[in-house]
């Protein structure tokens, strides 16, 4: 259990006026966003909408304008908070011959512990608590993380020999070994079969509900997000919807999204000509600031 909600008033993640430009191209424009502790936020958007850029900006892997604060800390102090975020990138390619077992991979997660211990007082000052048991051995931490993702049997397997779903779970075990307070997962469901998807679905659900881990994840599949997430944000260069699942249901989003998906499908498979842009009409979006 990370924290009682009454103890702190600030959001676990706060983004203000975040803009990212690559030369003359604006990838993200004036993003404002608050994520509360315990949320499971699904971020929806087509390819190239800026989801990965948003995550990279939050994680200080990308230069940006505007401010981002994590656990109440922005600027330089934000860097000290990063180890408390577990990040699963969209692609993790590993050479088949890379000499690392699942256990080796998971144990890299332990390296964050020393940095987290140093920054834990800062975290507590803002009312968050890091669930850390100093008496636990590293071995026990690894065992526990592997058990949580159901990979105990594969601990000595080479990571290059794992299936896509297994590698995904091994990477999640690596994140969980240091008990982060927040997870950022970039399209974790892409390239997984049905079985692996539902396995991951259950792991994330349990982490959020039983262990109070805040989760932000990007996905293409609105229906899947509707089942998993507590709130939804839609992004395509700008944020044009951010609200609870109920608000999302009440909005026009689902219809627009399915129309959009149909449009892309038609364009790809039938070579349809000029049609409206991405989600909704760009000029509408700018003037109204949202469709929700």
């Amino acid at each position: 259990m990370a924290v009682d909600n009454n103890e702190h008033s600030m959001s676990i993640l706060r983004v203000r006026d975040l803009t990212v430009r690559y030369g003359s191209i604006t990838v993200l424009e004036s993003i404002n966003m608050d994520v509360e502790h315990g949320d499971l936020l699904g971020i929806l958007g087509p390819n190239g909408a800026g989801k990965t850029t948003l995550f990279n900006s939050i994680l200080m892997l990308q230069e940006h304008e505007g401010t981002v604060s994590i656990f109440g800390y922005s600027n330089d102090a934000r860097k000290k908070m990063l180890p408390f975020i577990g990040y699963l990138p969209q692609r993790f390619s590993v050479d088949q011959n890379f000499p690392a077992s699942v256990e080796d991979l998971v144990s890299t997660g332990l390296i964050s512990l020393r940095y987290m211990q140093k920054s834990a007082p800062l975290l507590e000052r803002n009312g968050y608590r890091w669930d850390y048991d100093p008496d636990m051995s590293n071995r026990e931490r690894i065992d526990k993380a592997l058990e949580m993702v159901g990979l105990e049997h594969a601990r000595r397997k080479r990571i290059g020999m794992l299936s896509g779903g297994e590698l995904q779970r091994a990477l999640i075990a690596k994140i969980l070994v240091s008990r982060p307070l927040m997870l950022i997962l970039d399209e974790p469901f892409t390239a997984l079969d049905q079985d692996a998807q539902s396995r991951l679905f259950n792991i994330l659900k349990a982490l959020n509900e039983d262990m109070d881990v805040t989760i932000i994840l990007a996905a293409h599949d609105l229906m899947l997000l509707m089942r998993l997430a507590k709130s939804i944000a839609c992004i395509d260069r700008r944020i044009f919807f951010h609200g609870s699942k109920e608000e999302c249901l009440a909005s026009d989003l689902i219809r627009l999204y399915s129309e959009h998906a149909m449009h892309i499908h038609m364009k790809e498979h039938m070579g349809a000509g000029e049609t409206v842009g991405r989600l909704g009409n760009t000029s509408d979006r700018r003037s109204s600031g949202g469709i929700g």
């Binding site: 690392a100 890299t108 997660g109 964050s112 397997k157």
Partner: protein, 277 residues
Amino acid sequence: MLEILAYPFMQKALIAGIAIAAACSMLGLFLVLKRYSLFGDALSHVALAGVAIGIFFKVYPLWTALLTAVAASLGITRLRESTRIQGDALIAVLLIFGVASAVLLISASGGFRVDLFSYLFGSITLISNEDALTAVIASLAIIASLLTLKDRLFYMVLDERQAKISGLDITQLNYIFMIMASIMVIVAIRLVGILLVSSLIVLPNIAAMMLGRGFKTTMLISLCISIASAITGIITAYYLNVSTSGMIVMVCIGIMVSIMVLKHHNMKISVVKESSR
């Protein structure tokens, strides 16, 4: 067989050889995984320019070689961070730059001389007591640093971005690692020479990666192959009266090819077994 161990030059060569081979294979594993396999080669060619500077100004050539190698490796790390040029392309630039400046300096100092050949091809059986001691101390220092930093270095070569998020100072770690690599290359020049430096960095690790599953096992296997090649190479070269560096490298290649053949053979057997079931 054992009487050659009574010769002091042989004792020196074996002790220094084992130390250098061990450090090279350990450091090499990280270089190979970082996809910097040719980095040793590039650095040694820059070191050749350093050696030429030393000979030209009549300073101990390995010191000038060390200085140029450290400067070049730090320069490359800086360039890799600040430009979008790929790592392997930068290594190619470094290699070419090293050879070109060396050739210029060598021609300016009156052409190739005998002492230059000992740097090009190694001369472990001819080293002085001081050189042997320096090589052993430097190798042990590198092994000790690698053991201290191994978890962090492993994380860095596995996923630099993740390591950064976890709190590691990747820039600093990269610089430290590059300085270690430069020192290692200069020390290894004594054993196998400039032209064959990357052999001990690359070969034992390629062979070990075919066998080991986990990281520690792979490192241990690589260590064993590297040390075995050094011992066998030095002793065989003495009896056959051929170049020590060439022999060490050939033994190492022999081990690597044997493992490849055995592995391929085993895989075939298991495939046959599977299909006959």
